[in-house]
């Protein structure tokens, strides 16, 4: 983190913005998984940061310890996380349908606690350095040091987001997920099995968290239990975009990443979260359901 004396120095700002876009694209993919679950299953998933941490640790095992091929490893990580998502749905969430909103939120906190404990048991509390599987090093662009990793992370996320949008737009399952998210009863009446759709939603969301973990493992300073905090830091991203909008989550993620990086670079690292939440607060004051969120009607 560089602290700039000059707020308008182009190269410094460029460097911060590129770093912010890399961080923001990870926020975006976290927020996307989070919004997906919230939108279609009405569960506020506070364990999403822990899912991402699980993905990061798991990709350390697969890619660093076992030294598997990157793409093979990526597929394995995504598949295992998706399987875990199925377990979350069939094992826990399905049994909690009909309970109060906050109780289900708490159940996700319980899951988060279990994940933390299991990771501590198997990996220990010691922190590991960041992963170095993707190409390291940097190049100079008009006076700014740009890291290859940042560019790759941004591109990978862009590609994945594109794939997810194709999935939602053109596949049958994607259509079902969108239908259930839009109107549960109507889609059930049309012969869509909500149970299966919920399971698939969880699987997709956790696969996204796995990908996010793999990428975040390359950007973060160290891989340890604090990694899960990204789940909370991606909240503003999800909400600024509007919780009912998948596209909003991505743009919100990028906005928050850049804002955090600029605030961290120019004011100080400890201001990152307060500034992000300050922006969130302002957005909520003007538009209580986010920028692209759908306004809910209140009926008595």
């Amino acid at each position: 983190m560089i602290v700039a004396s000059n707020y308008l120095d182009f190269s410094v700002n460029l460097q911060l913005i590129v770093g912010g876009l890399a961080l923001g694209s990870i926020y975006a993919i976290v927020a996307l998984g989070f919004v997906l679950v919230y939108k279609s299953t009405d569960v506020l998933n506070l364990a999403h940061g822990e899912f991402l941490m699980l993905g990061a640790y798991f990709s350390v095992t697969i890619l660093v310890t076992q030294q598997l091929n990157f793409f093979l490893g990526l597929v394995i990580v995504l598949a295992v996380m998706a399987g875990f998502g199925l377990f979350i749905h069939y094992g826990i969430m399905r049994r909690m349908v009909g309970q109060s909103f906050f109780a289900i939120v708490l159940a996700t906190i319980g899951i988060a606690t279990i994940i933390r404990a299991v990771l501590l048991i198997f990996y220990g509390p010691a922190e590991r350095g960041r992963m170095k599987v993707l190409p390291q090093g940097n190049f100079r662009l008009s006076g700014a040091n740009i890291k290859y990793v940042d560019i790759i992370v941004f591109l990978v996320v862009a590609l994945c987001v594109l794939l997810f949008f194709v999935f939602f737009k053109y596949t049958r399952l994607g259509l079902h997920i969108r239908a259930v998210a839009d109107d549960l009863e109507a889609s059930a009446a049309m012969g869509i099995d909500p149970d299966r759709v919920y399971a698939m939603t969880w699987a997709t969301a956790l696969a996204m968290a796995g990908l996010g973990g793999l990428l975040f493992g390359h950007v973060t300073a160290a891989i340890d239990q604090n990694l899960a905090a990204i789940g909370l830091r991606a909240f503003p991203a999800a909400v600024i975009g509007g919780l009912s909008s998948l596209g909003g989550a991505i743009i919100g993620g990028l906005i928050v990443g850049v804002i955090e990086q600029l605030a961290g670079g120019h004011i100080g690292t400890k201001w990152r979260e307060p500034v992000a939440f300050g922006v969130l607060f302002l957005v909520l004051l003007v538009r209580p359901t986010g920028i692209w969120g759908r306004k809910d009607l209140e009926r008595v």
Binding site: I109, G110, A112
Partner: protein, 440 residues
Amino acid sequence: MTGTLAPDAGPPRMTLKQLARHKMTPFAIAIVTPFLLGSIELGFRWQPYAAVVILVVVARLAWTSTPSGEQSYRQDMALWRLPSERSWAAVTVFALLTLPFMFASGFDPPMDFPWATWFTITNTILIFAMGAAAFNLLVGYTGQISLAHVAFLVLGSITGATVGIQWSGTFWLAVPAAGIAGAIIGGIVGLPALRLRGLYLLLATLGVHFVMLLAWREYLLRNFGFVGIRFDKPTIPSWLHWLPFINPDENGEFLINSQFRWYWVIMPITVVTLLFMVNVIRTREGRAFAAVRERDVSASLLGVNVARSKLLAFALSSAIVSMSGAMGSYYLGARGEDSFNINLVLNYAVIIVVGGFSSIQGAIFGSVFFWALPEWFKWAREEVWIIKDIDFLSDHPSEIDLAIKGILVVIILVYKPEGLTGVWKDVKSIPSRLSGRREL
């Protein structure tokens, strides 16, 4: 007056079976407890007196009630309406009064069950119960989902340190000051609740949490440096030294420096605040809170001032949480940069949901669950046969505790959504179920 009326038959007598159903459980416990206590070697002979006292208290509470069916205003307003409730209250009072003596007795239970450590845990449970109950009043009872809980613990600590240390006030000034600061800031933090609800409110209050943590770090750095704040032990003011049991030391001070003395500070404060909250729930404002939780639009149509109710709930809850924060800081004696984090918020949330959502009782059950359970596990790991031979458990003590806690949270939420309060209700209704009737 005219004599044509039949003479007043008085309240109908209960049958023996009804008596057994309504009164026997607490009564049996009341009888058994002194004997249990008596069987423990306590070193001084207060058990016979205690037995007599509790018999009298319980008998008085249980037997002077009018049977159901006859309702008076006075009865409606009573805090504990049913005889069974009253006997349970008596048992609780008895337990609260005798606990410190039991812990201080130096009793050594079999299998090295840690006895004195439970004193620390009991005090912590009481502090947490106070904070959790206030949190529950806001989140569970008024339905304003807020994560700014730890922010107010921080505020309480800041106010406590400012008043108690920098302005060289005392503990007795610092705690009410924290309450006032909490009420004011709580009212301000509650403002977004007028516009946001549910998830969006949750996130706005999460922002308050992060801002308050930043303020805490800045406050620490500016005024106390990296080492953190050290709180002095509170003393009893000298003009109160004439009270019984207050024996000042050679410096003419009476320091609250042992778990035993802390208990007599914390317990009354917690009990009074809990009773206060129970009573708030029963007032017009409290019913307005519940109406706002159920549906604020309907509540406003019924004449509830929704804005006022929400702000009041925020201010009230925050004031009590700040007080518990100041008290907790003084109790622990030191607070550093890492004393507060987001996990603490989640822990409080776990406490209120595991204990029982929207009930003051639940906060107590939840705190006991949260603090007593790890200690129980620790003991089981070290002393209980078979369990202590499993190397895996002793290799990863804190991780296993964390995992068990998480698993229990999920299990309780999946199978018993009412939390431990629901379990407690089931346990209480066992006698009536055994006698073949369902309690109404």
